[in-house]
Amino acid sequence: MDFFTRKRSSASSAKERLRLVLIHDRTDLTPEEMEALKDDLLKTIARHIEIDPETIQIGLEKDGREQRLVADIPLRGNARRRTG
C-alpha cells in the first residue's frame, strides 16, 4: 500500500461481497425478488400516506445470524408540519 496506490484492499472487497451474498443465501431471496418486494411495499404505503420515493431506504440487514428487512421511510406530511 505504500508503494502502489491501491483501489481498495482485497480483504474488504471479499468481506463486502460475502456480506451481500450471505444475506441473499440465508433469505433465499434473489436481488430481483428483493426489488419487486420494495416496489410493492412502496406502492402499498403510498396508497395510505404521502411519501417521497427518493428518500426511502429498504434493505436486508444482518443481526448475528438473523436477517431482518429494515425500512426507513420519512413521511412528507410530518416534515411539512414540523417546518410549519
Partner: protein, 265 residues
Amino acid sequence: MTAQVITVTSGKGGVGKTTAVANLANALAMDGKRVVCIDGDIGLRNLDVVMGLENRIVYDLVDVIEGRCKLKQAMIRDKRYPELYLIPAAQTRDKNAVSPSDMVRICNDLRPDADFVIIDSPAGIERGFRNSIAAADRVLVVTNPEVSAVRDADRVVGILEAEEKGSPALILNRLNPALVKNNDMLSAEDVLDLLGIQLIGIVPEDETVIIGSNRGAPVAADGKSRAGQAFRNIAKRLQGQDVPFMDLEPQGGLWSALQKITGRK
C-alpha cells in the same frame, strides 16, 4: 463416563476437515483421552492415509453396519497411541449403505468405552453429511478465509440450525497472518462477523501440515509446528479448558525480512 460425539464438517471440500480430525484425535490421545475416529466419507476414504493407518484396514464401517464383522474388529488401533482408533470408510460401496440411524447406533455402542468419538464428514450437504451429523453432540465447521469456503460454511451452519443441532463452533484453517496484515485475506474477526458463530480455533497456514500428511504422522505431535500447537489448543478447548488464542503475528520469512529492510518493524 460416556463419550462426546463430535462431527467435523465444512460445506466446501478441501478446506482441511480430514487433517483437522486426524490432528484433533492425536492431540486428544496425547492428553490421555480414549478416542475413536470414524471416516464418514463413504467411497472417498481418506482419514486412514492421513493417520498413517492405510495398511492395517481389514474391515470398514459398512462391514459393521451389514453385520460382516463386530464393531471392535473394524476399529484400527493407532501406531503411537494405544487408546486411539479409526473406523475407516468403505471404499467401493454405494453411499446408501449407511443411514443416519446406523451412525446413531454405532456411536451409542462406542460411547461407554471412549471419551471422544470424532466423525469426519464428507463435504457437501447430502446424504453423507446428514449421516455424519445424526449422532453429533457437537459440530465443528472448518473453513478457510476465502469467499467460496466461507459461503459454503454459512450454508452448513444454516442447515445445522434448522436441524436443531445447535450452533456449531468454527475452526478457521490455513490463515496466513502476513496476508491478513496486508489486508489481502479475510481476518478471523471478518469471518466470525460474517458467520455469526463461536470460534474454537485458528490454525495458521503451515507447511508442516503437508509434511505430516505425507508421512501419515499428524503434526499435533510435533512440538515445533505452529499448526500442531493450534490443534493441541483446540483439543484442550474440547475438553473444556480455557486456552487463550495463539498470537498469529507474522513472524520470520520474507515478510518480516522485508519489513525490517523498509524499517517498518
